[in-house]
Amino acid sequence: MDRQYQKYVGDFIIWSVLLTMPLWLHLVGGYTPLGTRVLIMALAAMALNFLLGYTGVLSFGHAAYFGLGAYGAGLTIKYLIPNTLAGMGVGLIVGIVAAAIIGLLIIRLRGIYFAMVTIAFGQVFYFIAYRWNNITGGDDGLSGWSRQPIDLGFFKIDILHDEKAFYYFVLFFFAISVAIMAAILRSPFGRTLLAIRENERRARFLGIPIDRHVWMSWLISCTFVSLAGTLYALLNNFADPHDLRWDQSGDFVMMAVLGGMRSFWGPLIGAAMFVVLQDYVSSMTSNWMSFIGLFFVLVVLFCPRGVLGIIRRRQVQ
């Protein structure tokens, strides 16, 4: 009962903060696109954590699907249809199809082998984007396009020029994705995934076909990462080959672990810390990554369950 109540209060606080962020962000030294960036990174980290924290499978190659979403959206808007939603749709589908196929190839691997192979596949996409100069822009990234205002016929939303409108546009997709993931995790299917995380051997001898379920979890996770990737390209009006690279995958893992991978909102907190720290420190020194690295090491040493893990523990005592 008490636990349930605390959960409601937590949800209420988080949604209130997210809903009002553009109204006060400038008062604390931020700016709206920074808030948008937090949302997008949080979506990616929460999607990764669906696999990592709730199925017990570590992927070090999620940037591949993030980047496929980004390039899918960018290329579509630049070369095919100058329509934001069409670009997002294509990016999402490209990410899902790639994840479905690659998932089939790697799903029998476990632990570190799985993680290594996800990196390898991620790097393949990185090199394609990097080398295929005349289409993807190569090392310079894909520019020369921008997100387009949303035209609902009766009503037009100018997400291109109105940063706040774009923030709420992203928040809309964030909310839907998070609601879907939360609903899945509360369902019998979600408990099956938890069973696999907790003890694969026991789960198998309950009659659960492990590989099939891990594949589904992987696909769900990659789907929302791809969605985050499309939004990221829209935010920057740009797709960067770095979005596909293994160190971007590492950032997602870091965000999840920083915030706490055993709690649903942990990766959101982790992403917020990561993005804000990156923004703040990189304005003072180009060596911002060593600050984040140090911070990460401290968190892992002193609260292995992440920042939200501390709060949780204090509640139990």
């Binding site: 609903a183 899945i184 369902s187 019998p188 299917f189 408990r191 099956t192 938890l194 069973a195 907790e198 003890n199 051997r201 026991r202 198998r204 001898f205 309950l206 009659g207 659960i208 076909p209 379920h213 055993r262």
Partner: protein, 250 residues
């Protein structure tokens, strides 16, 4: 019609013969025990029956169906459930959730996104029933990882039972337990056998636990069947007496 027939099964690990030509037949409702000293091949024998390992040679017939090369999950669907020598549970979930997951899987709900109120009610009732049988109801909300070894064993057995098996395989259910816990688990096994008419094969290395419990016993030593029969037949067998009882009964 017998429930399980293992025909002359062998498992080699390289040059080591872990199980060398063991056979047994379990009838519906029978309580069968496999005993033997450490390293005799008992766990390997179980792993072959449950599909964790595939045999080098021999056949396993379950319910008149050859399951020798079937995946573990498929054997579970056909009514074969097992526990492990080293307890395998879901430590960071509550007792209730451990059993709930087993019940939902057994009900074919493992892929479902939602349950109807009546389905939810059914899952809940069955979970409560299993808690009741095992006497774990007061600890339903506790995390399994925080409970005693004996409680965790009982939970594992109840998870296997939640699958509504026709055959329950228990690998050393009393391993590493004190006298009281051993007594409790033995009573639980006795009750399951009596009340649910459940066929069971259980592994033990301590023959005394088994003599009062099992209807038939197989003795394994170094992968070979030393004897097979009723407890009386087995204890009066000379090979068993010299190889096993001589030390165990001392």
């Amino acid at each position: 019609m017998s429930l399980l027939r293992v025909e002359n099964i062998t498992k080699r690990f390289g040059s080591l013969v872990a199980v060398g030509g063991a056979s047994l037949t379990v009838e519906p409702g029978q309580l069968y025990a496999v005993i033997g000293p450490n390293g005799a091949g008992k766990t390997t024998f179980f792993n072959l029956i449950s599909g964790f390992l595939t045999p080098t040679s021999g056949r396993i017939i379950f319910n008149e169906e050859d399951v020798t090369n079937l995946l573990p999950a498929k054997r579970v669907w056909r009514g074969m459930a097992r526990t492990f020598q080293i307890t395998e549970v879901f430590p960071e979930l509550s007792v209730f959730e451990n059993l709930q997951i087993a019940v939902e899987t057994a009900s074919g709900f493992r892929l479902r996104m939602r349950l109807s109120p009546s389905e939810k009610q059914k899952v809940c009732a069955r979970t409560e029933e299993l808690l009741e049988i095992s006497g774990l109801s007061p600890k339903a909300r506790r995390l399994v990882g925080e409970l005693s070894h004996g409680d965790q064993r009982a939970i594992e057995i109840m998870m296997a039972l939640a699958l509504n098996p026709r055959l329950l395989l228990l690998d050393e259910p009393t391993a590493g337990m004190g006298d009281q816990e051993t007594h409790d688990i033995t009573q639980l096994i006795r009750r399951l056998h009596r009340d649910q008419k459940l066929a069971m094969v259980l592994i033990e290395h301590d023959m005394r636990v088994v003599l009062h419990l099992a209807e038939r016993i197989m003795v394994l030593a170094e992968g070979c069947m030393l004897a097979e029969g009723t407890p009386k037949e087995v204890t009066s067998n000379e090979a068993v007496q010299s190889a096993y009882l001589g030390t165990a009964a001392a």
